[in-house]
């Protein structure tokens, strides 16, 4: 069939089952937008910044399990995608990012809006292409979708010169891919699987450690069965939250710098660490010389490069988490380590999370627990910093793909556009972005997108007037020298919030007014008894985004904490600090 490159792209999107994409127009991609004009079955959500588009595609992918697609123009359009691509790449999120490029005869001439997109995106993507021949376009797109969602998922960039978009050719979108160098392994090695099962059955102090790979492979159900059968306790990385219910008696919470006491103690004391879909990130392990020193480590991961990179692994299994667990499950027995299991569960009871705060402001932990009461089935996004760690500790996660956060790259500004993407993909769910006053200002322009699209995303700002996590480090490790972390109006802290819900605090912007300026709803909460009514009001609004400005205690910290460079057994709690 004769068609332009742009027509082939839209055909490819339809063939790949894509009905929603995120993007922003520009000179180099006008031909694609021109075709989209006639194809309302491929809906485009117009973000207000390309970074918003990529994060939205990312949030859409994490929440729905489908590939997220975004579209940006050449040069600045493409460079604006970098942070979003790096975020998705770190957390293994399938995205296909299509960028326009200047016409082929201008590449390399410093043409208007030219950038070496392939060179720029190479280190932050799973794979990328510059399409130099119109005849390659169909094959490249087919490969891009295949690569993005198979093996360890990740973002793939397809950079297409404008003249390729306009070139007419008689070709079809291919049905098959053939990549001789790319053969992801899903099935684990049978002997290794038997060894792992035997080790787990015989361990005196066994522990499961699960991560983001569990969500990506859809391993929740089989893992639930394994936990019920064996009774072995479970910890998770930040990215593994939601696989087990936060309240499950077997679940100890997450490990790491802000992990729970019970989880960090369990890692330190266990003799067998059965890890699945994790990558032993430094924020999770702390000092590697003190990490699980008594344990043999089993590691299941689809990506061989994550195995034995940071910790020595006794039994490596390369494969997909769900596929491998399905083979492991029948070989497992109820654990005989009753003393250990009892001890671990007691420790959990002895170390409850503490939501108290030092000053008069609202408690962020309490607010997040209330969000959990009002929205127990919410899709929860966060920005990065204290807001993220409080959410990880206090929200009652209960199912897979309900937790969207930038784990690896730690991207401030991720949560809100990701929430927008998730809400666009799952209109029947309530999506809540738990933000800090610092992070939310990094992609606040997406309020316009949400209002336009009538997306009722709830943005709960935990406003402490500070870049809170950095302030916490300054408090603990830099003698309270709060260098450039105070965001209140004068740039200096003028004591506790002294305001009621109607009066704006000494802070700019006034988030309630800002929400209204965008056409969103804005609510300020200054007292504990206002928390539930504000959340209930937000729940009742279903046609526009709602910003709730919670004035929290300015010096509330995230506890427990393992100081940077220390071992997981060297945590400090709020009482000790």
């Amino acid at each position: 069939m004769e068609r332009t490159g742009s027509q082939l792209i839209v055909e490819a999107l339809k063939k790949e089952g894509v009905d929603l994409i995120f993007g922003y127009p520009g000179g180099a991609v006008i031909p694609i937008f021109d075709v989209l004009y006639d194809h309302p079955e491929v809906e485009l959500v117009l973000n207000r910044h390309e970074q918003g588009s990529v994060h939205a595609a990312d949030g859409y992918a994490r929440a729905t399990g489908k590939v997220g697609v975004c579209l940006a123009t050449s040069g600045p359009g493409a460079t604006n995608t970098i942070t979003g691509l790096a975020t998705a790449n770190f957390d293994s999120i399938p995205i296909v990012c299509i960028t326009g490029q200047v016409p082929r005869n201008m590449i390399g001439n410093d043409a208007f809006q030219e950038a070496d997109t392939q060179g720029l995106t190479r280190p932050v993507s799973k794979h990328n292409y510059l399409v130099t021949r119109r005849a390659d376009l169909g094959r490249v797109l087919k490969e891009a979708f295949y690569i993005a969602q198979t093996g360890r998922p990740g973002p793939v960039i397809v950079d297409i010169p404008k003249d390729v978009l306009n070139t007419i050719l008689d070709d079809e979108y291919p049905e098959e891919v053939s990549l001789r160098g790319y053969n992801p392994v899903y099935k684990g090695h049978s002997r290794q699987i038997h060894k792992a099962a035997e080790a787990l059955n015989n361990a005196q102090k066994p522990l499961f450690y699960i991560g983001g790979g569990m969500h990506l492979s859809g391993a929740q159900d089989i893992f639930r069965q394994i936990v019920d059968k064996t009774g072995i306790p479970v910890t998770s990385s930040l990215m593994g939250l939601g696989i087990l219910e936060q309240e499950d008696p077997n679940f100890l919470g997450m490990i790491g710098m802000h992990g729970t006491v019970a989880a960090n103690q369990a890692i330190t004391d266990c003799d067998l660490l059965f890890s699945i879909g994790v990558r032993f990130d430094d924020r999770a392990t702390g000092d590697l010389n003190r990490f699980a020193t008594h344990a043999d480590i089993i590691h299941i991961d689809i990506d061989p490069t994550t195995i034995s990179r940071n910790v020595a692994v006794k039994i490596p299994i390369v494969g997909d988490a769900r596929t491998v667990l399905e083979e492991v499950a029948p070989l497992l027995e109820e654990s005989k380590a009753h003393d250990w299991i009892d001890e671990i569960k007691t420790r959990k009871k002895l170390n409850p999370l503490d939501e108290s705060v030092p000053g008069p402001g609202l408690s962020p932990g309490h607010i997040i627990r209330q969000i959990g009461h009002v929205f127990p089935q919410g899709i929860i996004c966060t920005e990065v910093g204290q807001n993220q760690m409080w959410t990880a500790l206090f929200y009652p996660f209960n199912r897979t793909r309900s937790w969207l956060t930038s784990g690896g790259l730690g991207t401030m500004g991720y949560g809100f556009p990701a929430a927008l993407g998730a809400q666009a993909g799952l209109p029947d769910k309530r999506v809540i972005d738990i933000a800090g006053d610092g992070s939310i200002q990094m992609n606040i322009q997406e309020l316009a997108t949400c209002v336009d699209q009538k997306l009722p995303v709830i943005i709960a700002i935990l406003n402490n007037g500070y870049l809170g996590m950095v302030r916490q480090w300054q408090e603990l490790f830099h003698k309270k020298r709060y260098s450039h972390t105070c965001l209140t109006a004068a740039g200096q802290d003028n004591g506790p919030w002294n305001t009621d819900a109607q009066t704006p605090p000494p802070y700019h912007p006034d988030f309630v007014m800002l929400a209204k300026a965008y056409g969103a709803e804005g609510i300020r909460v200054t007292k504990e008894e206002e928390i539930i009514p504000a959340l209930e009001k937000a729940k009742s609004i279903t046609d526009r985004p709602i910003v709730i400005d919670f004035l929290i205690d300015k010096e509330a910290n995230v506890w427990p904490m393992v100081p940077p460079g220390a071992g997981l057994d060297q945590y400090i709690t709020g009482q000790e600090a």
Partner: protein
């Protein structure tokens, strides 16, 4: 320890920068890198040398293997592989030393490629050790310029690297 890594990759634009970018981006050592087409023009062979402990090299091999365009990765040790390097050496050849330099070149089976009134340009191929010995000997005179190719290597015996990723 120096490791010789031989890669079979798709002969596509950007593949070599993907390989070298992996080294710069992850802070691995990359001492030399050469590449060229194979018998199959759709494939390229990249030969590179790197140093590092076992853990680092294992990680390098895995990361190289993970690249979408990589067909095969081999860690070749010196005794299992034929390795060659090429160097072009320009030496000042004043009248009194010309015969001596040519004799020395013959000893090393180096070829004189260019002669001028006061210089020679010579080509030498061989193991890295041989090249280095030759350069050391030539530095007795005055070396004006050197161009070295980096290593190329192929496994000994009849086994080939064709076929699927292993």
């Amino acid at each position: 320890m120096r490791h010789i890594i031989s890669l079979l990759v798709e002969n596509k634009p950007g593949v070599v920068s993907r390989v070298s970018g992996l080294f710069s981006g992850r802070g691995y050592s990359l001492e030399s890198i050469t590449y060229g087409e194979t018998m199959d023009p759709s494939l390229c062979r990249v030969t590179l040398t790197s140093t590092g402990d076992e853990t680092a090299i294992e990680q390098i091999l895995k990361q190289l293997h993970r690249l979408i365009d990589t067909i095969k990765v081999q860690n070749l040790t010196d005794h299992k592989a034929i390795t060659r390097e090429l160097a072009i050496v320009k030496v000042r050849a004043d009248k009194g030393y010309r015969a001596e330099i040519i004799k020395m070149a013959e000893t090393y089976k180096a070829t004189v490629l260019d002669v001028s009134t006061d210089s020679f340009v010579m080509e030498i191929t061989g193991s890295t050790r041989k090249i280095e010995d030759f350069i050391e000997v030539m530095s007795e005179y005055t070396i004006l310029d050197i161009a070295r190719s980096g290593l190329v290597a192929l496994e000994k015996g009849s086994k080939t690297t064709k076929g699927k990723k292993s």
